[in-house]
């Protein structure tokens, strides 16, 4: 009977990653990145640019850049949560700039930010 043979005449069984791309059915390709690829979301190149901006820094190793990127992410999470506590007290659901200012004043570790965000 007329069986619709998807394979081309070259005799190769239908491959998912056909180099010639002759397979008609577009199969959704699963991302090939390893599960641990989401180690850091911030682009290392930008972090490196910040590090280089310091005139006292001569060189920085790859690992140092990576850890700085990861630390920056943790920092963003932390300050967002702390600012949210202030917004919650005001029964608001939108974080405002003043929530951030309050958090900076309230939390000792954020003291280095004072005067830098203007």
């Amino acid at each position: 009977m007329a069986a619709a043979a998807p394979a081309a005449g070259s005799g190769t069984p239908r491959e998912e990653e056909g180099p010639g791309g002759e397979a008609a059915a577009p199969q959704p390709q699963a991302p090939t990145s390893a599960p641990g690829a989401r180690l850091s979301r911030l682009p290392l190149a930008r972090v490196k640019a910040l590090v280089k901006a310091d005139p006292d820094v001569t060189l920085a190793g790859q690992e140092a850049i990576f850890i700085l990127a990861r630390a920056a992410e943790l920092f963003v999470e932390t300050i967002a949560k702390d600012a949210y506590c202030c917004a919650q007290q005001g029964k608001r659901k939108t974080l405002q700039r003043r929530d951030l200012d309050n958090a900076i004043e309230a939390v000792d570790e954020f003291a280095f930010l004072e005067g830098t965000l203007d």
């Binding site: 641990g36 820094v57 190793g61 920092f75 999470e77 949210y84 405002q96």
Partner: protein, 147 residues
């Protein structure tokens, strides 16, 4: 017209995503607050870099390494970051090792194809990853370092 270091912002989309995932569902963030957080993150990196650099100089090294950054975190009173950062570092090192082995495997395959028997330069695998990177970076950095 000079670019200040604080103006080197990290990508907004990523910052926004990190914030949203840190906060409960349904919570929003104003544009001003988001851009302030982004600037704060840049300032954080600059400050941490400076602290880490102090540790490197104490150790008479010219290159910042991971432990300098970890020491900087403690100095900045962000000790709570140290443990998750150490875990992330472990994972990162494993990933780098995996990548290196994968590219070495490719190299071996290529060598087999070409059939040329070049003597393998015996290299210790310990700590050579960083040194290889350093050599690449040093070549780039020579132009920028003012002495």
């Amino acid at each position: 017209m000079a670019e200040r270091p604080e103006d080197l912002n990290l990508p907004n989309a990523v910052i926004t995503r990190i914030i949203k995932e840190a906060l409960p569902d349904g919570v929003n963030i104003s544009k001003e607050a988001r851009s302030a957080i982004s600037r704060a993150a840049s300032v954080f990196v600059l400050y941490a870099t400076s602290c880490a650099n102090n540790f490197a100089m104490k150790g008479k090294r010219k290159t910042l390494n991971a432990s300098d950054v970890l020491s900087a975190m403690e100095e900045m009173e962000f000790q709570r970051f140290v443990t998750p950062l150490k875990e992330a570092l472990e994972a990162y090192r494993r990933e780098q090792k995996g990548k290196k082995e994968a590219s070495e495997q490719k190299k071996k395959d290529r060598d087999k194809k070409t059939d040329s028997e070049e003597p393998d330069k015996s290299r210790d695998e310990d700590n050579d990853e960083d040194e290889e990177r350093l050599e690449e970076e040093e070549q780039n950095e020579e132009e920028e370092v003012d002495n």
